[in-house]
């Protein structure tokens, strides 16, 4: 949290060591050099992994051919496979992974608890329940997103109302969320039990989280939402960082604590809602992404951008594993992340007391 702005007066060109100073008129911006470099590395990794992902499948495509196909050259078959079949799925993975991960990072910051990610406090499941309700009951094409958003907002409000009384720091907040999540999961099952067995079978991969066969028109929408989410959170990153301090410190620094929290939660809820509507509840990405970003980026502040990149990488890797590991059977990406994320969550829980008992 040591953003050392105090030693720099606006307009001076002397940047503190390890930082870049961008000045435009009387506006200045400090950039952490290490963070920038690591983020660049992450972007590079994401691009490389994407190209590999586009190449792997029933019809293997060499990386160079993938790039050619993306540029609109090469033979038609390769272009069809890469651009029409695999690209959409990859983009859906990148967008939703980034969205989940940013949302997770924001919720962790607001609740001041690294376990308070949307998946664990039930936001995912509630969004899913509402989306399933719209699919089963209403059947309007854009309805699932809107309904998922409503569900996400409802669950968040409930979690804060129920758990908030005793403060969001404690585990009570999280157990309240667990309860909300299990009720929502039960409602989803209930709704699916009402419909025809074939419809339920079709909806099944989506209810555990899947990138396969997602409606194409939703993917660009998701892209724009994620982009706006990333831009907003990067602009507001400095403010969100303040949430690590106590309320009195935030007030003394000239921000309203509750307004900050509200903004962060709204961004998180919107991102989660849309991501769930597209890919289903792949909540554990929101736990693993920010954690990876913290370890890898060694960012001193809030690693929002790194989280987004790590989340996207985790998501497309999980999807790659899911669709190649047991080929021709395709594992939904939600199952892969649960198998990876579950033990990780257990490890967090078991490891922590050891440290505190010292």
């Amino acid at each position: 949290m040591s953003v050392s702005t105090s030693s720099v007066t606006p307009g001076s060109s002397a940047a503190p060591s390890g930082q870049w100073l961008l000045a435009w008129g009387d506006k200045t911006l400090l950039l952490d050099q290490a963070a920038c470099k690591r983020n660049l590395l992450l972007v590079l990794a994401l691009v490389l992994i994407s190209i590999v992902c586009l190449g792997i499948g029933t019809l293997p495509v060499a990386p160079t051919d993938v790039i050619l196909a993306l540029a609109g050259q090469g033979d038609t078959m390769t272009q069809f496979v890469v651009n029409d079949l695999r690209l959409n799925r990859l983009l859906a993975g990148i967008y939703t992974g980034a969205a989940f991960s940013i949302a997770g990072c924001l919720m962790q910051t607001v609740a001041r608890n690294r376990l308070a990610t949307p998946g664990i406090i039930g936001i995912d499941n509630a969004a899913m329940a509402f989306a399933v309700a719209s699919v089963v009951g209403v059947g309007i094409s854009f309805a699932p997103s809107a309904m998922a958003l409503t569900g996400a907002a409802t669950a968040t409000a409930l979690a804060f109302i129920i758990g908030g009384g005793s403060g969001t720091r404690g585990y009570r907040f999280i157990v309240a969320g667990l309860a909300i999540g299990s009720v929502s999961a039960a409602i989803s099952q209930l709704l699916l039990a009402q419909v025809h067995i074939d419809t339920a079978n079709e909806a099944y991969p989506w209810t555990v989280g899947s990138l396969s066969g997602r409606p194409e028109e939703q993917i660009p929408v998701m892209g724009w939402i994620t982009l706006v989410g990333i831009i907003i959170s990067v602009i507001l990153c400095r403010r969100f960082q303040l949430m690590a301090f106590s309320d009195s410190v935030i007030t003394a620094l000239g921000r309203t604590p509750n307004r900050l929290r509200f903004t962060a939660v709204i961004v998180a809820v919107i991102l989660t809602g849309f991501a769930v509507a597209l890919a289903g509840p792949v909540g554990l990405v929101a736990l693993v992404g920010p954690e990876m970003a913290r370890t890898f980026a060694r960012h001193r502040g809030l690693p929002l951008l790194s989280s987004a990149l790590c989340g996207a990488i985790v998501m497309i890797l999980a999807d790659l594993v899911g669709r190649t590991l047991l080929s021709p059977i395709e594992l939904p990406v939600g199952v892969v992340t649960a198998v990876v994320g579950g033990p990780y969550l257990l490890w967090i829980l078991i490891r922590k007391p050891k440290r505190s008992t010292l």
Binding site: S166, I180, G342, L349
Partner: protein, 343 residues
Amino acid sequence: MFNPVQFWQRAPSQRPLVVCFGLLFIVLSGVFVLSLLYGAGSVTPSQAWQVLLGHGTDNAYFVVAELRFPRTLVGLTVGIALGLAGALMQAMARNPLAEPGLLGVSAGSSFAVAVALLLGASAATLAMGVAQIGALMGCVFVMAAARLQGQFKDPVRLVLAGAALTSLLTALTSILLMYDQRAADEIRFWVTGSVAGRSLDNLLSVTPFFLLAGALTLYIAKPLASMALGEKVALGLGHNPKTVRYIVMLIVALLAGSATAIAGPIMFVGLVVPFAARAIVGPDIRRTLWMCLPIGPLMIISADILTRLIAQPAEMPLGVLTAIVGAPVLMMIVRAKRLPTLS
């Protein structure tokens, strides 16, 4: 004479156990009869009543005797088993949130059943072949959860660990099911927990486990009650806390594993039933265990009746309803100003 107002004004631990038990037993009997009378099918309550009086149509007789009666009996057994398992586990872990379903015991059993189905067992022989495996898996996971508990001082974290375990096992189960469409079809309704369509054979095949668990419970109740006073007191009274804990774990594995084998994973019953029992007769485990006997089946059978009536003519899974009832109770316990520690 009996004065209800005065009765309820007493502190829970002062209420006479026999009266509480008797009252709930009467309610349970009523619900048992209701469960025979109401159903999702075409047999009306009055037709079913005629059957109970001994002169109904053949069709109604079949529905009541062959469909509703076994299922009610299964509900009764599963309710007792899950209620007792919850109460014992909570007393052992000194944690009001310890519940076989939440801690991953049931998920372990489903995983075992999925493995068995994949290896060629069919749903018809499910309880016969896999009850034992399910119980064993349940036991293993209780052991694991209890070992984790040794490190956790915060009761709520244990639940979180259980949730993580459950999500992991559920994911593994669905991977297994994806291999095999037939297994997936057979297990679909079982996975959400239900007492429907279980024959008395299924019940008979797990009866030895229940009997063993019951005998062990009678043996362990007193030592367990002394553990509530602290391990040193228990030691002073001549009970070895470690032995007590292992025996309780074994009982919980037997009860929860067998219940899961018959009815699938039903969450939250082991949480709600002891909670209600404690509210009625206070925290003494010997009194709580007695009260779990009527309350557990009461919850399962009432929930089962509701599942038949809500979504007529279809039915909804029982596990869904218990989750909807149980999650608010979980929130209530967590919301309490200070977590009751049960010690």
